[in-house]
Symmetry: C2
Subunit: 253 residues, 2 copies
């Protein structure tokens, strides 16, 4: 949104940290929310990894992702308990010490008063050189260090932190999308979809089949950054589908 | 379950392929299902990656994951349309050609009859040297090549393919879990949780906070492969919580 160069493509990765996701106990809800939020900022989510609560696994993923994309977001592992090792793992990956951040300590002291125990003070620890991300929900802040944004695992908390970052990060042109749909088997229209995509540079068409009420259908999602191009391709795709005897719908089924 | 050595730890990774997940349009539902299915087989899901419909991105992830874990599962990108490039990307990563698998061709010919178009025949393509995984839902089969299991993106189809693999893969002892819970802030019990985990080798205790009806609570999930150890740690944790004035519940809140 605030990008100095709207033709540059800004990219991001998400690292989800937590045994509870890998065991299937907890269904992740941060990926889809972050993806849509990034889209609005003009940043494309290009890769996601999920790793366990393990120092080496977190560190290896952090170093791979922070160097491959403009931004790296992490979720999970920043609470007060022994399994919350994200800050330590990221500091180790960056080769910097962990400090008690004075501003974070002040926030927690204001919230907990004389009940600021050692366990709670863990939530004021950051890699050296970090700044804080406001947490309107439960006070213990998120952390920004370099291009890494360290967020909570609990979706309501992470969503609050993202709201605090709204419009702050340099981004490019948002990816726009428009959906054309039809009651058809994907395989019937596969050649048509491919031809229309190929005829329009910089446009992607994704095909997503579904089965409903005993019928087969598919949504065709056109993605582009230029709204005029999006309209052109939508018209071209509808015409091409009609030409092979399909009756397309302008919108999602 | 069928493992020749129950003390060996068997590991797996999941590679989710698809722009629709990375754009936030579609909420993934395969991760949690596969994680639980693997748990029953005695296989631990250790890492998940999500990449876009891009040959290089898929290939790099496939080669990293298939060499790091006992099994690699992929979901997405095996339909009939131009954006379904998983088979091509995996074959390229393995350095083998793509062939039309005769058994897959026979299955599709039996299903589509004289309507077996080129687009539909795409779903019979496999990396050379592959075997097939039955798809009871929509016929087009999944693919096994080496330690890679190539599955559909649509959850109902993938679940059918996993049912066909039930009990087939060598695995170790399943990870068992038991939950103790309490109405308390995590930070109040953090030291206790850490001490109990540290006192019991091979046991993990995860702490998962929640907020409900204006109150704060947390579930403590104990994970171990030995049922006797699980019972011992559950008792130890309840006693330790009671010793600091907490009233724990045996079960999930």
């Amino acid at each position: 949104m605030t990008g100095p160069d709207s033709s540059r493509i800004y990219t991001a990765a998400l690292l989800i940290i937590g045994d509870e996701i890998l065991s299937g106990r907890t269904q992740d809800a941060n990926l889809a929310y972050l993806a849509k939020w990034l889209g609005v900022q003009g940043i494309r989510l290009k890769e996601v990894r999920v790793v366990s609560d393990d120092m080496a696994a977190i560190g290896d993923a952090v170093n791979a992702l922070r160097t491959s994309y403009d931004y790296l977001f992490t979720t999970g592992g920043i609470g007060p308990t022994h399994d919350d090792i994200t800050v330590d793992a990221i500091a180790a990956a960056l080769g910097v010490p962990v400090i008690v951040h004075p501003d974070a300590q002040a926030i927690l002291a204001g919230y907990y008063g004389d009940k600021l125990t050692d366990a709670r003070l863990r939530m004021a620890r950051t890699p050296q050189g970090a700044s804080l991300i406001e947490n309107p929900r439960t006070k213990a802040p998120g952390i920004r260090v370099g291009n890494i944004f360290i967020m909570a695992g609990v979706p309501a908390i992470t969503q609050g932190m993202l709201a605090a970052l709204d419009g702050v990060l340099p981004g490019g042109a948002p990816v726009l999308s428009r959906t054309i749909a039809a009651w058809t088997q994907e395989s019937t229209v596969a050649a048509t979809l491919g031809a229309v995509e190929k005829a329009h540079d910089g446009v992607q068409i994704g095909s997503y089949p579904f089965w409903r009420d005993g019928r087969t259908g598919a949504n065709f999602v056109i993605r582009a950054t230029d709204p005029a191009m999006l309209a052109t391709v939508a018209s071209a795709l509808m015409a091409a589908l009609q030409a092979i005897g399909i009756d397309p719908v302008d919108g999602e089924l």
